[in-house]
Amino acid sequence: MAQDPTTLGGTLNAEIVADISAVQQSGLLDYRSEELPTWCPGCGYYGITQALMQALADLHIENRNLAVVSGIGCAGRMPFFVNGYGFHAIHGRALPVAQGVKIAKPELTVLVVGGDGDGLGIGGGHLPHAVRRNVDLTYVLFDNGIYGLTKGQSSPTTPTGQVTGSHPYGNPDRPLDAVTLGLAYRASFMARGYAGKPHELYPIMKQALEHRGFSFVVAITPCVTFDKVNITYDRLRESWVPIPDDHDTSDLGAAMRLALSDKLYYGVFFREDRPTFNDNVEDTSGKARE
């Protein structure tokens, strides 16, 4: 239930009022459902959501044609907060479900969201195939290096040495890197962004949504409740480096070098235009009818 904040008791700072007014006019509220998110205060997911919705608004995606599919986890809650057709599916299976939605009804805009556990753990086997089919959907992986919903166990991207619920003596395993994987699978659009900078994340989201093909965006975010040590706003702010302007996004090798470096690059790593799954379907139907 959205209350008009300007009518709340007391006076508000004019700046805040201006901000509120700007948001109301930006159109992103059209994409907010009436449900209030259940994420912790300070969670990076708010930033990601804002960036996404701004991108949707810019592109004037119709609500009725918006499908948001998620897995299980904190990120999985997103469909409830979006004003569209949401499908909160099962753990690790958001990509298959989302592909089914898009293949069945290509006119829909399909957004898939999930966390690092959902996407790289239980769902890890589905990722390469969704990528290689190049189904035209946008997959945003909310990477916070932890299993937050179940209260703090290690995830596939938890840094080595971190103490977690499943590793009281420190995580011995090497974490995966979603961007490296995405490039290895040759995602036709591969980008990374940072939840703490929604204004810089939003153009990435927009490009991802516009791209014809499988757009893979990794959104790095802290979990303020279960990791106060490694992946934090402070540390991320320090290590965050934009991809140089002279990077050739069509050069997969260069993209991979950026991904493999010690620096935490953000931006668009790689992009190529190739036939989408539905392009190929048209082709096959054509051949079949001959």
């Binding site: 057709y85 009804k105 829909l108 195939h129 079949a288």
Partner: protein
Amino acid sequence: MAVSETTGPASSDVVIKICGAAGDGSIAAGQILNLAAAGMGYHVMNFDSFPAEIRGFGKSVAHSRISVERVLTPGTMGDCLVALDDPHSITELASLRGNGIVIYDSRPADYHEEDQAVAGWLQPGMIGYGVPLRDLSAEATKGAKSRNIVALGVVSWLFGLDADGFRWAIGKRFGGKSETVRETNIAAFNLGWECAARELDKADPIDFGNVALARVENVSIVSGNEAAAQGCIDAGLRLYAGYPITPATKIMEVLGRKLPATGGVVVQTEDEISAIGHVVGGGFAGKRCATATSGPGLCLMVECINLGVMAEVPAVIIDCQRGGPSTGLPTKTEQSDLNIAIFGASGESPRPVLAPTNVEECYALVLKAFEVAEAFQTPVIVLFDFFLSSRMEDVVWSREAADRFGVYEDFLATPTPEPYARYAITETGVSPRAYPGMPELVHPITGLEHDEHGLPNYSGPVHTRMQRKRQRKLETLLARWPAPEVVGPEGDLEVGIVSWGSTVGAAKNAIKRLSESGMRAGGIFPRLMWPLAGDALREFSARCGMLLVAETNSSGQYAALVEQATHRDVLRVCEAAAMPLPTAAIEAAALKVHG
């Protein structure tokens, strides 16, 4: 003591086996035989067996039963064995009747070594017809490759199966090939026929009289899997997602060829979980989607099916049951997935389960499954088995005929926007459904328990009423679905036989035989396995002195449900012996207890 040479099978119902090594063309000859017989108006059932090895060096036996009446079971023993080779045919003699017929090559390239000639193994009572298959094949096609077609010429003459019917079938079978190929094959057939007419002394009584019953031009000989694929196409399937697994793979392959022309899509996914994920996603999007698998794949799919039940999303899952558990017996038939189909899930997860009993029903029930899935907004599982999937029967497609299982389109209600509740509680349990693309009706769906608006809600009252709603949908379906088929005389019965799926053929045969021997016998055969037709079962049970349940699994999965519903002990004729349950087993069980 069978010492006579002249007793033989009735000529209105004959089992012909064509046996050879891989490459001898036994299967192809069987297909032509089936097509010829069906084209002449006979009913046909075909259940071939293939070499186990991928390389295919083993024995290939085409097994066809041709009858004036609709064939219910393929028959265990053959009446005629066409021996295209000797080593394999010798082993096949064990499945030939004591007074059966063997057609063999009287002029092989060289003398067989001792005991390597099938004609040397004929038992007293069997009739052997030797024809120079190789020589005639060489005359027609300059090589030994058409011995199988030459043999068909012999079969045609011997059994009075109209030669023109065969020529038509040969033409059709080689329709895609060149004129020369068709001509040489027809020449081979003619040579076989003429040689038989000239040289053979007919000593057996099989005679179809060279009469076509009623020409059937548009007949198809198809397997259960092919029928399933056609059912999907006729239902307007938009997306098929599947993973290769024996014996379901053929459904995907047939759809892969035929679906694209209709605008549909076939996706081979990376695993079964992805497959069912695709199907549920597509169902959510408002389209008809399906997958097919077998036991091990169904195990993987259970979680996503459960999601479909909870979120009330339509989906069609065909399970081609095979020997289990685990990897089990991939190329053997069994009916042991009933439990997982009905109950496989965490929590209370009611979903409809259908089971066809023959190939035409494989088409009709798959077609109907889409309607039921959509109307009741639920995954529907259709249980086939290896036997049904791979056996072939003559079928004439008819969408209208599928409506004998009810019509459900009236359950599709247009939702109204304000205020829209996806899971509104209704009397039938079915809520008007909106799906992506429809304006002003956006809502989330979830595998969490939810309220009428689809928002997660864990409270007791909400959970209770939602569970009841989901259950009520099935009760509504049960009330609408036609009562199970009941056969036999009215009134009291000495023996009642309950059966389902592919075992029904044998059960019907058994009832016929028991009745002929004077017993009051009847049967009840549901196609809707779940929800359980409790009232119908109880009503039938009340008439029966003895109630017997026949199915091919060892614990009696349906028997347990029947016992629960009828509150009585049933006699289980339940065998999981890697083969279809024979008529004789059911008959013997009934006689033993009653007899």
